[in-house]
Symmetry: C2
Subunit: 218 residues, 2 copies
Amino acid sequence: MRMGELSRRSGVSVPTIKYYLREGLLPAGTATGRNQADYGDGHLRRLRVIRVLIDVGGVSVTAAREVLAAIDDPDVVGHHLLGVAHHAVAPAARGRRDTEQWRAARAEVDAVVRRRGWAISPDAAALDHVADVICAARALGLDELLAGMDTYADAAELVARHDIDTVVTRAQRGGPGDEQALMVETVITGTVLGESLLTGLRLLAQEATSARTLGDER
Amino acid sequence: MRMGELSRRSGVSVPTIKYYLREGLLPAGTATGRNQADYGDGHLRRLRVIRVLIDVGGVSVTAAREVLAAIDDPDVVGHHLLGVAHHAVAPAARGRRDTEQWRAARAEVDAVVRRRGWAISPDAAALDHVADVICAARALGLDELLAGMDTYADAAELVARHDIDTVVTRAQRGGPGDEQALMVETVITGTVLGESLLTGLRLLAQEATSARTLGDER
DNA sequence: GCCTTTGGATAGTGCCGCTATCTACTACGG
DNA sequence: CCGTAGTAGATAGCGGCACTATCCAAAGGC
């Protein structure tokens, strides 16, 4: 398959594909001449992954490159991999983390983690991320939201179990390419797509619950 | 309070505050002279809300303006309000929605909604959003993820109930400003912060579950 | 043979969220 | 009453990002 066909089948324009090649998101095709190369199904699949990361995950091109590098790296295994996916999904740090309030929020996160018996590496970015949110909520006086944090944690645990199950199941089932790469790809796309899915369903559930609770005062 | 103090207490630089004034995110202070104005606690609070929307919610300045307009509009009531918040949070449409696969995905969403007895306005943006995600997951062959969609829906319902409860509780408790405005603000900030909180906790729960299931092969 | 497509390289575009600068005016301590 | 610091308002600029446009020489393919 050459560039034109790759473009048509992926829905990504030729200049954009060239851009991704330049940026190292997409590996070069196998050259068949001085100015001719051949692309395979792997390239098509990779392009789909890229679009998911960027469009659905809202990941920057730079972050996507790092994630894709992890997909290709055979040394990345187990749940160290989760760190890579999480790092990419996490937005840049929001505010100052050197305030008294922030440290209090961070302690609150640690308390939740301890209470639930979660084994978390202490340098996980998500710990700080959650602390950021708590800090912001406190600043706005949204204590009711935080009072039910265990509800949120319950929900998070529920989907996380399913997510990990998905990865394990899929690794056993096998699929295109080698097992390792498939598992890595599943973790990353599953993390990104799962987040978006959960977010969307939450909004729907909110509307449904609101209609039921507050009545139909549209 | 004048601009300098507002800047210091909010942590937002003076030029940025001016920019928000220009863009209509922040109402002008009450003028006390030709080039002097007075800002109140409302402005401080508003600035905090703006930062939450932009930093935590990842909302664009344009979308933030619309959301804030809804906060100020006394005619926006009940769960019509949810629509505004959801519209702002929702990212722009990702791909083409005119394909056969997309319509199939959309039908799948409708099926879930019907199965759970959710009363959803048929033009809710979240319906399309979820369909986008399903479409992307199918394209990548991530069927295992979708097989457990009810797990995701359960989790979504769990937090949504809590979210709506929060709004109701808070409206009753009262607080600064009039009830209506407080409720609106709670919906919006709660939607945005809750999403970020849920996302962060999911990542933590994933790591914990992964460590438990896959063992410690770091 | 000749028009189309390709790989490769370089430069440019449009948007977005600020940031810098300027001017004229005001507040305030001394 | 002076001098310095702060302020409102307006305009212009900046840096980053995700593409997009253009050009060239070399295949491809009928």
